[in-house]
Amino acid sequence: MVSAAVMLSVVAALAWLLWLAGDVTGRIGTARWVGGLALALVPVWLLLVAYYAPIEVAQGIIQKIFYVHIPAIIPTYFGFILSAIGGVLYLRTREDRWDQLAVAGAEVGVLFCSLMLVVGPIWAKPAWGEWWAWDLRLTMTLILWFIYVAYLFLRSFAFGSDTAKTYTAVYGIAGVGAIPFVYFALDLAQSATMHPTNPAREGLPAEMGRTVGVGMLTFIWIFAWLVAQRLELASLQARALVASRAETA
């Protein structure tokens, strides 16, 4: 049931963000409800992590990092997918709203990706005996992080706002093109696979599974709310720019 709610949430959040990007000024009021939902989910998630999910026998309390680490995957990929969708739509239509959606997705995606990369080693040290195992999924996530940090650098260093928008859209497309090859290459280059392929199917206790699921729900709606904030900021900036231009003219 929880996994169905997670899937439904991903679809709903995506649909809401695409709808919101259409008219940020007029529709940003709905962000209040999304923020409220995220805010309501946070204490539920934390209580489940603290009291409901059992303490893992072999790893002890440190295993609870799991409930931050795993849910962060969804917003990470969600952000990068948003940025690719936004980039393609921007190049096709040249409408600023798609560009704003692309950048918002990349920024918030990098945030969650960083969170995942930072808490991972803290858990890996006691669990695997080393901070950084260079295993397939870890390295893949690191390269993804590099690509999208480069994307944000390009964004802030390009001269002229239209150039920056085009360049980041192009780089976002090139990045998406490279991702399957990077995955294949890494798979080839290193044999170590420390990450379990699918924790849910490998006999994860039901309490742990449900706690992860609620964590995912929480993160998805926090993500959607943050992207909405970023979109509002971008639309306010655009309005301020127009206003200041009108004043000088």
Partner: protein, 223 residues
């Protein structure tokens, strides 16, 4: 002028420029010499260890050297507003990409031959175990680097801190080239069989980025 004709003209112009000024090729050659000399000094002395390290080191050295050349691939266009005139050619700008990438490809193949020679002389690498496979990896690697590098070099024309930004943009995207090429080189030198999957993935990578470059170049050069 038709598209392929424009590509050919741009290609010939860049090649002439490279041969006349010899700036780009000369700098890359000296840089490669330096890097390979440094590598030769620090690499362990035993023959087996050198052989094990050489393929990876060769491709890392090539990556850094080619970065030097790729960063300069639009230099002649940015001077005196040549770029603004170039984009007025009444053809799909993808053809300009083809011409520029083609010229970079020739320069990169030259650099590869030079670096391979340096590895033979300094590190005693024996290519006879798989010369064709190594040449194939070199060609595919050069095509991939030229395609991705030309696209990103064009992206970083109008950007601050470009000497910092170009490697940051380039390296994560060309990581597959580094892995595929050094794996093929290592297998070839050790006399192992090279999986067909590897060749397919490598060729596909080149195609994907050549096509991305061709199709998005119109947007990159429009301002």
């Amino acid at each position: 002028m038709s598209g392929p004709r424009v590509a050919l003209e741009v290609f010939a112009k860049d090649l002439r420029l490279d041969l006349r000024s010899r700036d780009r090729l000369g700098h890359m050659a000296v840089f490669a010499l330096l890097v390979v000399a440094m590598i030769s000094i620090v690499v362990p002395a035993s023959k087996t260890e050198r052989l094990a390290w050489s393929p990876a080191l060769l491709w890392v050295a090539l990556l850094f050297t080619s970065l030097l050349g790729l960063a300069r691939s639009f230099q002649s266009e940015t001077e005196e507003g040549a770029l603004a005139l170039l984009v007025q050619a009444p053809v799909d700008r993808g053809w300009i990409f083809v011409g520029k990438a083609g010229a970079s490809l020739v320069a990169l193949i030259g650099v590869e031959l030079w670096t391979a020679t340096l590895f033979t002389v300094f590190l005693d690498v024996d290519w006879s175990a798989g010369p064709l496979a190594c040449a194939g990896a070199g060609l595919l690697g050069a095509v991939g680097l030229a395609a991705v590098g030309t696209l990103l070099s064009a992206l970083s024309i109008g950007v601050r801190f470009r000497e910092f930004l170009l490697p940051v943009l380039l390296f994560p995207l060309v990581l597959p080239i580094l892995v595929f090429a050094s794996r093929i080189t290592a297998d070839a030198l050790a006399g192992r069989e090279i999986s067909a999957q590897l060749w397919w993935a490598f060729s596909l990578y080149d195609w994907v980025f050549a096509l991305i470059g061709y199709f998005v170049f119109d947007y990159v050069l429009e301002d």
